[in-house]
Amino acid sequence: MQLAEQLREARSKKDILLMTHLVLGYPSFAANREVIHQMVENGVDVIELQIPFSEPMADGPMIIKANQEAIASGTTVADCLAFAAEMAAQHKIPFLFMTYYNILFKYGVREFLHKAKEIGIRGFIIPDLPPEEGEEYLRLAKEFDLAAIQIFAPTSTEERMRTLAGHGDGFIYCVARRGVTGSKTEFDASFDDYLARCRKATDLPLAVGFGISSREDVQILTGKADLAVIGTATIRLVEEKGAAAVGPFIAGLR
């Protein structure tokens, strides 16, 4: 089943879906394994696995640190692929890769997508690859039936949203505010207008990320978005309280 269809089906049974994020190799693959187990056990619907990159230009301090430390401790792209294969085989929910374009480019875009398909990855979020630069990637994603997830920003015009939606697959990742990951987001009237514009531009499910960290945030999004994306919050939690704290946190989100 295609990712969008699978998400629509899951969404028909829940008020809102949860997507979580983690940086592979940080603090360790063993911790990643435990965190993912807890996430799946507690009802997370989609997980984005970030392959660390040395220049994560769209990420905030917590995720930059996680990227740097994962690389410093020897995490390789091959390790990430092997780990993702293990997770996709073990758990039924969809796994996505989030990373920056150079990781794919250096590996070979075709080879990377082929490998991702082979190990059971369902889609990609590549924040520094606008569709204008991603022709090869978009074509190959279609060929391999992988979702090339497109990103909307509050600064995107309606025309731009329609262009992005035309290239999009799986769902649309709506960045909740300007800036990088990890700061608090204010959900005000302009946010509602923005989400309404997003909804108008596409029939694909809408995921909202950046600054979603609590039950209150998830409740605000319920009925407005299809997926709430929890990113930095779980990384911070693992850092402060260890992997075991993730389960109760996720369970308390909705």
């Binding site: 040395s54 150079n102 480019f105 590996y107 924040p127 606008p130 920003a153 995107s156």
Partner: protein, 410 residues
């Protein structure tokens, strides 16, 4: 150019979606300015009244005699206001910021020259200014930090990654994605997403336009070779552009050989075999990276040259064989700097001294009726701490020790 923003296969705009509209606005403002002759006139007038343009082309007769070959000429970008060619770019972008109606500028800086130039431009135009600088470079270039702060800028030491130029660029982008309505990112070199490489090259072309006229006026014909140091590549592109169409003029870019090309501790992208094609910091070029695509640490005695990437314009010219690339080691740089100071009474920046190294190696191959030009991109007095340390100067060390004691006892 195959598609907008590309030079051969290099360049592009690999930017987060949140910046899409900001870049669209920038491309439009830049295109309008470029099509408006009055804009360039305003720019040239500003540079002549505020930044000592045209900068002179100095005949280095003592060095020419010393090497007994080509007549050595030095294009004096060090005489720009704030002491480097960086002034050309920041004043040009400052005029664009005024057109866009923005009130704040941000910039990255390595050696600090771009930071000082940007802070100066902000002071003149009345913009708020924040400069991102790798923590390592803050230590290496303290005098420039002092001046940026005195000029009213906020200097933010960047503690991520290798704490150098590439990390300062990432931080500037992070600021920009939060504040794009009021803020323009004044990129300091001919790198980054389209239109920065092309736009910065346009402002820097003033160097080559002047140099071509000056060498013909003083030497009667075109030079045989032109040497320029290459970090990001803005001073090199600046002077090379004046001679790109003159196929008889050989263009030589000199990268940071650091401790030696074989040591891995260098920043030679095109002059070594260590770089490979990649996409980072918004554009595609040759990067010093590992087999996974993770950027490597670089090294140079010159903070402004130890960058992982290189201008897509230069990579294209390198691929086409129009520009030859070499590298100079830290040790060679110190020797060339010493000789230039002693023979000509001119103090080039550590960055610029890389170009001097290669020119000195090759001057003797040419005859005395041939000319070469070295682009002296900046002044060396900003490097006094690094230079004094490298020369192991005992009286300087004593002075620093005494100053330290003086502050410690206050």
């Amino acid at each position: 150019m195959n598609k907008p923003g590309y030079f051969g296969q290099w360049g592009g705009a690999y930017i987060p979606e949140v910046l899409y509209e900001t870049f669209r606005e920038l491309r439009e403002v830049y295109a309008k300015a470029k099509a408006d002759p009055a804009f360039w006139q305003e720019y040239v007038a500003l540079m002549s009244s505020y930044s000592c343009r045209p900068t002179p082309l100095t005949h280095a007769d003592n060095l020419s005699r010393h090497f007994g070959g080509a007549q050595i000429f030095i294009k004096r970008e060090d005489l720009n206001h704030t002491g480097a060619h960086k002034a050309n770019n920041v004043m040009g972008q400052g005029l664009l910021v005024k057109r866009m109606g923005k009130t704040r500028v941000i910039a990255e800086t390595g050696a600090g020259q771009h930071g000082v130039a940007c802070a100066t431009m902000a002071a003149k135009f009345g913009f708020a200014c924040t400069i991102y600088m790798g923590e390592e470079d803050v230590h290496r270039q303290r005098p420039n930090v002092f001046w940026m702060e005195k000029l009213g800028a906020t200097v933010v030491p960047v503690t991520t990654g290798s704490r150098t130029l590439k990390d300062a660029i990432n931080e500037a982008f992070r600021d920009w994605v939060s504040n794009m309505d009021t803020t323009h990112y004044v990129m300091g070199t001919v790198c980054g997403p389209h239109p920065f490489p092309e736009m910065v090259a346009w402002f820097q072309s003033i160097i080559g336009i002047e140099a071509r006229k000056q060498i013909i006026a003083s030497h009667g014909k075109l030079p045989a070779r032109i040497y320029a140091c290459v970090g990001g590549g803005s001073n090199a592109m600046g002077i090379f552009q004046g001679f790109l169409a003159d196929s008889e003029v050989e263009l030589i870019g000199v990268e940071a050989g650091g401790k030696g090309i074989d040591t891995g501790q260098h920043a030679a992208r095109l002059a070594s075999q260590d770089a490979s094609p990649g996409v980072a910091q918004g554009y595609k070029t040759m990067f010093l990276q590992d087999s996974d695509g993770q950027m490597l640490d670089t090294h140079s005695v010159a903070a402004g040259l130890d960058y992982i990437g290189v201008s897509p314009l230069l990579t294209d010219l390198w691929e086409k064989g129009r520009v030859r690339f070499t590298a100079a080691t830290d040790q060679e740089v110190m020797a060339a700097l010493d000789l230039t100071i002693k023979k000509e009474g001119i103090i080039p920046a550590l960055e610029s001294s890389h170009a001097f190294v290669q020119a000195f190696k090759e001057a003797g191959e040419l005859s005395s009726d041939q000319a070469i030009i070295i682009n002296q991109s900046g002044r060396g007095d900003k490097d006094i701490f690094t230079i004094a340390h490298a020369f192991d100067d005992p009286s300087w060390k004593e002075f620093i020790r005494k100053k330290g004691e003086e502050y410690a006892t206050r």
